[in-house]
């Protein structure tokens, strides 16, 4: 156990320098990106905001069913198959009836992989809808994978819109990730007041232009809607949509030079410009409403036909609110409303204090352990301490190499590693003491001390390592940071004990082999 070849010593040396280099890389600035890596600080250390958003998929499912109904109507009409009483049933299903003679035919159509009625998803080996029938009454329900597919596609759309909105605000290195099939995780480092982003993400931003109904009572084809700023009492709005946000090419905040009011100017695509032109030509003198997420922003009277496909929205905006509205319009509407279901925001002041406290605790804990080891083992304490210092370099070096994220619990994990790392050396030293008691040749005593303590050391470290791995897979956020430092710490501990400390021990006893070595 105690013999080291020159090659091995050399390898250990190179490895140590390698990790030492990466540890120091945290404190330097080099141009080369490969060699200048840094540990990422978690949001709890650098300050920032963590938001978990959940898409409310119910409207999407309803919309999908409505589309399906329209589709089925025309499809069966074209095929000359008579179906009736077609309607949404419960929340996830559609029900319809047919003549007895068509029952088998409809079944065949619904289970045909080529038919567009019930798309077949090759990757799930499943149709979009499950079909059930009681005699001539059919119920089609979104299958498990039909719902998953729907959710995934709305999540894909939503994450794109979220990314656009956040990019437009221009925060520092945002991190936007999917979580499951209806959640989006947003990490915004350095942002201590996520108010504006929360407001922007909380809006679906569904824009429509519709005519204001002349009537003051509920009528077929109208909705009663409120004004966003409450400046007027609610009015009835025609259901028919003149224009929607999809027709928008651009939107910008401006200060109107004549009225000195802040407005949002917009320009429409060709289809939009045509439709808007047509509507305004026939509608001079009428009122139309600009509606965002079921609230009226403004309802101007059409003064003249607008055919160039551009216009402006007034609505008593401040420059900030005009900027945000323009941003929402540019980035597009979310497929469904989203809710913020978890938020964690740490201000930069607390982050800095946490780093300070963590580093202080590390220095004190480290010093106490080092002092204790020297007190307990003298020269061998020194050896264990040297291994401990190398261990820290290895640990920080590896975290840097993989650009891991360091959190406050992560720092706690490093400190805990310092406390537990000496255990392996203690096990070895105590075993050597025992071996020396009945073995006269101290070289053999040292050697068997190392050999006989090995299983205990492995067992002891594997148990902690198991705990760290489970934490890594099941823990969240900062806790993950703890599991990383704890787990990596165990590996570096074993390395530093079996290579650094053992090498130093071997050098020491070979040099002093003729003297009595006390441990």
């Amino acid at each position: 156990m105690l013999y080291f070849s020159k090659l091995r010593i050399f390898t250990i040396l190179i490895a140590s320098l390698f990790f030492l280099f990466f540890t120091l890389s945290n404190f330097t600035k080099l141009d080369d990106s490969f060699f200048n890596k840094k540990i990422n600080l978690g949001l709890d250390l650098q300050g920032g905001s963590y938001l978990l958003l959940e898409i409310d998929n119910e409207p999407i499912i309803t919309k999908e069913l409505q589309n399906k109904i329209t589709f089925l109507k025309t499809y069966f009409k074209d095929k000359n198959i008579n179906i009736f009483n077609l309607k949404i049933y419960n929340q996830n299903s559609i029900r319809f009836e047919t003549d007895e003679t068509n029952v088998e035919l409809i079944k065949d159509i619904f289970f045909d992989k080529e038919e567009p009625v019930n798309p077949f998803y090759e990757k799930y080996k499943s149709h979009q809808f499950d079909l059930e029938n009681q005699n001539n009454i059919f119920t089609i329900t979104l299958s498990k994978y039909g719902i998953i597919e729907l959710k995934n596609s709305s999540l894909d759309q939503a994450i794109e819109i979220v990314r656009r909105r956040i990019d437009e605000v221009g925060t520092n290195e945002p991190n936007i990730l999917k979580r499951g099939n209806d959640r989006i995780l947003v990490e915004l480092p350095g942002l201590d007041d996520p108010m504006r982003i929360k407001n922007l993400l909380g809006k679906t931003a569904n824009l429509t232009f519709r005519f204001v109904s002349k009537s003051t009572e509920a009528e077929f084809g109208t909705d009663l809607m409120e004004f966003e700023d409450g400046s007027e009492s609610p009015v009835y709005i025609n259901k028919r949509i003149i224009l929607s946000g999809e027709n928008l090419l651009d939107a910008q905040p401006r200060v109107d030079s004549q009225t000195n009011e802040t407005v949002v100017t917009f320009s429409l695509d060709r289809v939009g410009a045509k439709r808007f032109g047509k509507a305004t030509i026939s509608g001079v003198g009428k009122r139309f409403a600009i509606i965002l997420d079921d609230k009226i922003i403004s309802a101007p009277v059409i003064q003249e036909a607008i055919v160039d496909g551009s216009g402006q929205i007034t609505g008593g905006f401040t420059f900030q609110s005009a900027t945000d509205l323009a941003l929402l319009l540019r980035s597009g509407a979310l497929p469904a409303p989203m809710n913020i279901i978890e938020e964690r925001t740490v201000g930069p002041g607390l982050g800095k204090d946490s780093i300070k406290a963590g580093v202080l605790a590390l220095i004190i804990g480290f010093s106490l352990v080092i002092a204790f080891m020297i007190f307990k083992y003298k020269i061998f304490g020194l050896i264990a301490n040297t291994a401990l210092i190398f261990n820290l370099f290895f640990l920080v070096g590896i975290l840097t190499l993989f650009e891991a994220t360091l959190t406050l619990p992560g720092i706690a994990g490093i400190i805990l590693t310092v406390g537990m790392a000496v255990d392996a050396n203690v096990l070895i030293f105590e075993r050597i003491k025992e071996e020396k008691a009945h073995e006269k040749n101290q070289l053999i005593a040292f050697d068997s001390g190392y050999t006989k303590s090995r299983t205990a050391i492995l067992d002891a470290n594997i148990t902690t390592f198991i705990a760290a791995i489970i934490l890594f897979f099941l823990g969240s956020g900062p806790i993950k940071g703890f599991s990383i430092t704890l787990g990596v710490g165990i590996l570096t501990t074993l390395f530093s004990v079996y290579f650094i400390a053992r090498l130093l021990t071997s050098l020491y006893i070979v040099r002093n082999k003729d003297k009595e070595i006390k441990i």
């Binding site: 929360k198 279901i341 938020e343 925001t345 720092i411 805990l416 537990m420 000496v422 067992d459 470290n461």
Partner: protein, 296 residues
């Protein structure tokens, strides 16, 4: 090597530990745990007063007017730091902004909001479930590990020692009413690892001694093994505790609960390795044949 008659106290400490375990179970059933917002849902605000006029009673009176339900306010480390917690049902997008507005009106703007956490009911339920699963899986994994490394008698000893440590730590948390949050789950898992580690080292020695001293009764053999590994047990506990104490004292308020749980766990883990795990080997009449049978 020291020679302390640990085995004379096996019965006594088994009794004490059983008592503590039962009390802990009763506490957990009847008093329960003080779950933080991670597991209960709600909002937490850490606020630092810059204006010296702001104190806990002025904060209480201004928060009580905000219609937030049950608001708990306490000092957090320093005199000028406060932790405000409440369970606001239902999402409210402008919650923090409204609170700021109300605070500015009642106590002025001489404060800084240092941290905001808001956990919805769905997320908190998931986090609680995740935490319980993590603890269960870790206990299961330890059981599996020790089952492949040792004989079943040893597994029972080690697992009972683990349960003992986790149970009593939680019992103490319930008794003092300390907050249980995500970091406490991390602490429990680490305690599980540490307690196991400590037990395994002694068990390794027991197994070695079973082969070496065939004629020695398990009652004395466990005592010999404990004594042989005693200095290691103590030194490792001391260095680990030194590290944990420095986290507890200097690592800031956020890590207090975590390091406290760990300190309890390390002390209990060290104790249980000696006084829970070993008496079980004695009770299960482990002898030379137990391990030879396995190896043939």
């Amino acid at each position: 090597m020291k020679n302390i008659q640990f085995n004379k106290y096996y019965k006594l400490f088994t009794l004490i530990s059983s008592g503590l375990a039962i009390i802990s179970i009763l506490l957990l059933i009847f008093k329960g745990l003080n779950f933080g917002i991670d597991f209960k849902g709600g909002t937490l605000i850490e606020l630092r007063a810059i204006d010296k006029q702001i104190n806990i009673s002025s904060l209480r009176s201004s928060f009580s007017k905000m219609n937030l339900g049950d608001v708990a306010i306490k000092n957090f480390g320093e005199d000028y730091d406060f932790l405000i917690k409440f369970e606001k049902k239902g999402p409210e997008k402008d919650l923090i902004q409204n609170i700021k507005k109300d605070l500015n009106a009642s106590i002025g703007s001489g404060y800084e909001i240092r941290r905001v956490e808001n956990v919805g009911p769905k997320v908190s339920a998931e986090l609680l479930k995740g935490g319980l699963i993590a603890i269960a899986v870790s206990l299961g994994a330890m059981l599996f590990y020790i089952w492949i490394r040792f004989e079943w008698q040893f597994s029972i000893g080690a697992i009972l020692a683990l349960f003992h440590d986790v149970l009593i730590t939680m019992g103490i948390f319930s008794l003092i009413g300390l907050e249980v949050n995500l970091s406490i789950v991390a602490a429990i898992l680490t305690i599980v690892g540490y307690s196991m580690n400590d037990t395994v080292v002694i068990f390794d020695r027991v197994r070695e001694n079973l082969k070496k001293h065939i004629d020695l009764k398990i009652f004395d053999l466990t005592n010999l093994s404990i004594n042989e590994t005693l200095s290691r047990t103590i030194i490792t506990s001391v260095t680990t505790l030194l590290a944990l104490l420095s986290i507890f004292l200097f690592g800031g308020e956020i890590l207090k609960g975590f390091s406290f749980a760990m300190i309890l766990g390390v002390i209990l883990g060290t104790y249980s390795s000696i006084f829970i795990a070993n008496p079980i080997l004695v009770n299960l009449k482990v002898n030379y044949k137990t391990i030879v049978k396995e190896e043939n």
